[in-house]
C-alpha cells in the first residue's frame, strides 16, 4: 500500500514538473511550484522525515511561493516569447546542460548503496551512534534537533550564515532607498474587508504557532528554520493586506537588519562561550555545570539565533522587493 502511494505521489511530482516547464503563464507556474513543494513534503512524510517535510512545506510551498509572487509583480506575468528580439532563448543548450547534469547525477548514484540497505555506511556507524547515545549525551526526544543543533552544529552555523548572506546580497543589490521618502500609496487590497478581518484573527495565531515551533523543536518536528519562516509569513500577510506603509510602522528597517545580524552573532557567541569555558567551538558540554544541561542551553540558544536570523532575513527580502515595486510604479 505504501509503495502504491509512493508511486502516485512521485508521478504527480513528475507531472507537476512537466507542467512547470510547459506553462507560459508565470503566475500559474508559481502556483505549480507551490504544489510541487507540497507534494515533496507529503513524500517526505511518507519516508518518516517529518522535520524535512515541515521545512519543505513551510519554505518550498509557503514562503518561496510568496517571494516568487512578489518578484512576479515586478517582472510581469507572462514568459517572453522565444522569438522576441534580443532574447537569450537557447533550448538546445539548456536541454544539453540538463541532460548532462542528470546523466552525471545518475552516474553518481551507481556508487551509492541501495536506499535503505542494511550495510550502507550510514546504517552501520552514524545512525546507531546518534540513536543509541543521543539520549544519554543530549537527552532531548527529537534526535533530528540534537543532530542539527549539536552534533552537526558547525554545518547549521554555515547554513545560518548562508541565509544571512542572502539577506545582505538582496540589500546590496536592491537597497530600498525609497523607504526614506514618504510612500503614500494605497494598500492594494484595502477594500477586501473579509480578508482583512480573517487575517486579523489569524496573524496572532500564526505568531504564536511560530513561537511554538521555535521552542518545541527539541520535542517534535520543528526548530529555528521553520519557526523563522512561519513568524515572517505573519508579517507578509499583514503587509499584503494593510499595505507597506502600515507594515513599516510595525517593522523598523534598521532593527530588522540588526536582528538578522544578531541571530548569527548569538549562534557564534554560544560557540565562543564554550571556548572561553575551556571547550572547543560550539562544544555545549562546557556551557553549564553538567554536560546535559549545557547541551540543552546550547541547543536552545542556537535555535533561537537561527529563528531570529531566518525571520529577519525573510522580512528584509520581502520588504526590499515590495518597496522596489512601489518605487518603480505599481504595475498592477
Amino acid at each position: 500500500m505504501e509503495s502504491f502511494i509512493h508511486v502516485i505521489i512521485l508521478s504527480m511530482l513528475v507531472t507537476t514538473a512537466i507542467a512547470i516547464v510547459k506553462v507560459k503563464d508565470l503566475f500559474a507556474v508559481t502556483m505549480l511550484a507551490g504544489i510541487y513543494g507540497l507534494l515533496s513534503a507529503s513524500f517526505f512524510v511518507l519516508m518518516d522525515a517529518h522535520d524535512v517535510a515541515f521545512t519543505e512545506a513551510a519554505v518550498g510551498a509557503g514562503i518561496s511561493t510568496l517571494l516568487i509572487l512578489t518578484t512576479l509583480s515586478m517582472t510581469g506575468r507572462f514568459e517572453k516569447a522565444a522569438d522576441t528580439p534580443g532574447s537569450n532563448y537557447k533550448p538546445a543548450l539548456a536541454l544539453a546542460l540538463v541532460t548532462l547534469t542528470g546523466a552525471l547525477l545518475i552516474y553518481g548514484t551507481q556508487d551509492m548503496p541501495v536506499f535503505g540497505a542494511a550495510d550502507a555506511p550510514v546504517q552501520t556507524h552514524v545512525v546507531p551512534r546518534y540513536l543509541n547515545d543521543s539520549a544519554a549525551e543530549i537527552d532531548i526526544p527529537n534526535v533530528v534537533a540534537s543532530v542539527l543543533a549539536s552534533y552537526r552544529g558547525y554545518d547549521t552555523f554555515g547554513e545560518v550564515v548562508v541565509i544571512f548572506t542572502a539577506g545582505i546580497g538582496v540589500l546590496a543589490l536592491i537597497m530600498s532607498t525609497a523607504s526614506k521618502a514618504p510612500v503614500a500609496l494605497r494598500a492594494s487590497m484595502e477594500e477586501h474587508v473579509v480578508l482583512r478581518i480573517v487575517s486579523k484573527m489569524l496573524i496572532p495565531l500564526i505568531l504564536i504557532f511560530g513561537l511554538y515551533v521555535q521552542f518545541h523543536g527539541e520535542y517534535g518536528p520543528g526548530g529555528g528554520f521553520q519557526a523563522g519562516v512561519i513568524f515572517a509569513s505573519a508579517f507578509f500577510l499583514y503587509a499584503m493586506l494593510f499595505g507597506l506603509t502600515a507594515a513599516r510602522k510595525v517593522v523598523n528597517n534598521t532593527w530588522v537588519q540588526a536582528l538578522a545580524a544578531l541571530g548569527v552573532l548569538l549562534y557564534g557567541s554560544v560557540g565562543l562561550l564554550a571556548m572561553i569555558n575551556g571547550g572547543n567551538f560550539l562544544d555545549y558540554n562546557f556551557l553549564a555545570q553538567d554536560d546535559v544541561h549545557g547541551q540543552h542551553m546550547g541547543i536552545l540558544f542556537v535555535e533561537l539565533g537561527v529563528g531570529i536570523t531566518v525571520a529577519s532575513v525573510m522580512i528584509i527580502i520581502f520588504f526590499t522587493f515590495s518597496t522596489r515595486r512601489q518605487r518603480d510604479g505599481d504595475p498592477d
Binding site: S188, H192, V198
Partner: protein, 117 residues
C-alpha cells in the same frame, strides 16, 4: 471506544471521502470558473471538516482531540476566505458568472490574477 463513536466516526470519514471525490469531479466537469470554485471550496471546507470530525471521534486522548479541533477551526476560517478571495479576484478582473439564457460561452479558464501581492 464504544460502538456509537466508531459508527459516527466512519460515517463522517466516508462522507468526507465522498465529498472529496465529488468535489474533484465537480472541479473537472462544472461549466465555468465560479461553479468550479464552488466545488473546490466545498472540498476544502466541508470534506476536510468531515474527515477531521471523523478523526476527532477516534482521538485517543484529549490533547489529540484538541489539536484536531484547532486544525478544524483553522480550516473553517481559511477555506471559505480563500474561496472568497478567488471569487472576488475573478470578478475584479472582469470574469462574469455563466448565467442561463446568455448566448455564447464564457471562457472558463481565464485564470484571474489577484492583481499582485
Amino acid at each position: 471506544m464504544s460502538m456509537l463513536t466508531t459508527y459516527l466516526s466512519w460515517a463522517s470519514l466516508v462522507l468526507g471521502g465522498f465529498l472529496c471525490v465529488s468535489g474533484s469531479v465537480g472541479l473537472l466537469r462544472f461549466p465555468d470558473f465560479f461553479t468550479r470554485m464552488h466545488a473546490a471550496s466545498v472540498t476544502d471546507t466541508l470534506a476536510t471538516g468531515m474527515i477531521l470530525v471523523g478523526l476527532m471521534f477516534q482521538a485517543p486522548t484529549w490533547i489529540v482531540f484538541g489539536k484536531l479541533f484547532m486544525i478544524l477551526v483553522f480550516v473553517l476560517l481559511t477555506g471559505p476566505t480563500a474561496g472568497h478571495a478567488l471569487a472576488k479576484a475573478a470578478l475584479h478582473s472582469g470574469l462574469k458568472p455563466l448565467l442561463p439564457g446568455k448566448s455564447g460561452k464564457i471562457e472558463t479558464d481565464a485564470n484571474p490574477s489577484t492583481g499582485g501581492v
